[in-house]
Symmetry: C2
Subunit: 151 residues, 2 copies
């Protein structure tokens, strides 16, 4: 059996992501939001709003999914759709007053919650983690590009 040294790395990547989601998501739910909803609120905070296209690129939520997430945030009166003045196809999504108020509450609270997980990390630990993750990400993105070229 040839050694597959990448398997433990992938295993750890998946478990690490799941552990992060569990920790982050539990706190987000206590604030009355889902993880994607929080992601949208956080992305729109301190902006004038942005199109579905831009929101999708920032959050990596595909447009079909985004329609539903924005629908539910609109039902909660946290965001609104406004027709784009420059492009008749495009909708601008903005925080409402209530959305801005919620952002001001939950965003710092969630950052503080996340920070607590990193109590023992040194500056070197952060730098090493960032580098390793970038290297991994670049490997997958490059491999994916190769596939698309081949097609």
């Amino acid at each position: 059996m040839p050694q597959k040294p990448f398997l433990p790395v992938l295993y750890e990547l998946v478990r690490t992501y799941q552990a992060f989601e569990a920790y982050s998501g539990a706190h987000i739910r206590t604030m009355g939001l889902t993880a994607p909803q929080f992601d949208i609120i956080a992305t729109l905070g301190n902006t004038e709003g942005m199109s579905f296209k831009d929101l999708g690129e920032k959050t990596l939520i595909t447009k079909g999914t985004l329609t539903g997430v924005i629908d539910r945030l609109e039902d909660k009166a946290l965001v609104r759709r406004v027709a784009s003045p420059s492009d008749g196809r495009s909708q601008i999504v903005q925080l409402t007053r209530a959305g801005e108020k919620l952002f001001a509450q939950v965003f710092p609270a969630h950052l503080s919650h996340l920070e607590q997980a990193f109590g023992n990390f040194s500056r070197q630990d952060f730098e090493a983690a960032e580098l390793v993750l970038q290297q991994l990400k670049d490997a997958f993105l490059a491999a994916n590009s190769n596939l698309e070229e081949a097609a």
Copy 2:
């Protein structure tokens, strides 16, 4: 504004995981399976089968979700449920003959596909990645335990 050196790390973690899922998932779909379905097939391969409880622990799929995933694999005649001889509550999930045949095809093919993403990685790169991810995972697991204790 105090520096938040953990934010770039979390950003990279999420993007890295998404890049992995995109690369891995696209290949799995070409083989006619979804990612969780592949996960189940891979876990059951070369075993005598296992209970829902064990399957859930190995794959980190919660039991409510697992019922549906197994239902769909059973519809495809890739797995079967067998009553546990030792516990009247428990069901054993096994690969069928067709499931074993599929496992023998898709599992090595997928490993080979994944391996291609790691062309430039050295042994040191793998070790560094594994260590960093373990450190991150442990931080989230510990933080989560602290929450549960407090509750």
